[in-house]
Point group: C2
DNA sequence: TAGATTGTTAATCGATTAACAATC
DNA sequence: TAGATTGTTAATCGATTAACAATC
């Protein structure tokens, strides 16, 4: 087993997907899988799966394969999903509310501790038992509650300023849903959910498949 | 100018981002940009920007650069954003409602024509003036209204069945928010918004930046 | 025209796939 | 043990970067 210093982002992006499939196998009561069976399931080549996993350690057993629950746990630990994270949501609009209501995060260790807004009509509301607070109080709140993650559900114009405030207050990660690219100090991780970008590439691919049809 | 047959997905994924920056430049009244200035702005290398654009045509002018609005329009057309798309949303939960309420899509040519649900308590409601209808009626509706895109906001267990039905009814694209990988006929494009996968890779990166700090 | 900047080819870099020795 | 399948090295493929001739 050889542990590498720098693991490419392409590998990291595949881990949550591997984990999802392992969870399904677990539910079905399957407790062993080979890289080639896993390849059939996921669509990744067996070679790539083994290569990816061996970035982190030798989790398999020659002649046998991988233990489904063992591998599930390993990947969870690699991703840091054995830990808990405290989150705040900024922006109590549709998207902020949808995320606050999504109990899934809570179940997997991502705890929404508060929602922040500038719109006075929304302040004081409760969404899924989480209080909507005045944005003015955010720095104090993040500091005193040791918040790990800020979720940005604001307009694109407010996003960078909100990000700056969250970083100043001490979050370690930003989950950005605004359609802009956020700048942060190097020690703060950013993950973007660029929803409209995604819709735009769907539009592209739809017109491409159309072209293929036309040629037939 | 040389037009390639097959353009890599990595290129396509960058186009919406290029387009966003061009829109901002346009708003600021800047009407000309060189690849190296655009590189400073976006973080992509000037070489990559020119390489990417030349997959589709020679949009620049030697010695001058690129026309901001010209390039914006070209990229919009490449993505197919000069067209209109009719969408239906399946699932009127938090996420489905958030998308239905997001007027942005409408402004950019993606028109939400209906929302479908199995929960009888939600059927008949109006969300942002869009009717929530019985899921039983979806095939008929998609067929008779020439719906282009199905947006899947259901649970992961229902997602594939919903996808099959939408494909059968004739959509050309699926925008999938359920945390599963959807299978479709080759002529139906799929774009995934795997929200929890994104959160999981954020968790990974947060723990990595932490390690760097520890080493200091 | 001279200067600037593109379009495009060539070189490099990184990621994926293939092959196979190690080993359970 | 023999068969199976991993871990890992080597080969290939593709994507990014560098370089420069074309040209506005």
């Amino acid at each position: 087993m050889k542990r590498q210093t720098k693991i490419s982002n392409a590998v990291i992006k595949r881990l949550p997907r591997y984990r999802r499939y392992l969870r399904e196998l677990q539910k079905k009561g399957i407790d062993k899988i080979s890289s080639s069976e896993f390849s059939d399931l996921t669509g990744y080549t067996a070679s790539q799966i083994r290569q990816d996993l061996n970035n982190f350690g030798g989790f398999g057993q020659q002649g046998y394969g991988y233990s489904v629950s063992g591998l599930y746990n390993e990947i969870s630990a690699i991703l840091g999903l054995d830990k808990q994270y405290k989150m705040v949501i900024v922006g109590a609009g549709n998207l902020g509310q949808a995320i606050a209501n999504h109990t899934y995060y809570y179940k997997t260790g991502f705890i929404v501790c508060g929602i922040f807004e500038i719109n006075p009509r929304l302040i004081g509301m409760k969404i899924n038992d989480i209080e909507v607070m005045d944005y003015d109080r955010i720095v104090e709140f993040v500091e005193s509650n040791d918040i790990d993650i800020g979720v940005i559900c604001t307009t694109k114009d407010a996003a960078q300023e909100v990000a700056d405030k969250l970083c100043f207050a001490g979050v370690r990660g930003l989950w950005n849903f605004a359609p802009v690219d956020i700048e942060t100090p190097t020690h703060v991780a950013v993950e973007n959910m660029h929803i409209s970008d995604s819709l735009h590439s769907l539009a592209y691919h739809m017109n491409r498949t159309r072209e293929h049809e036309d040629k037939k």
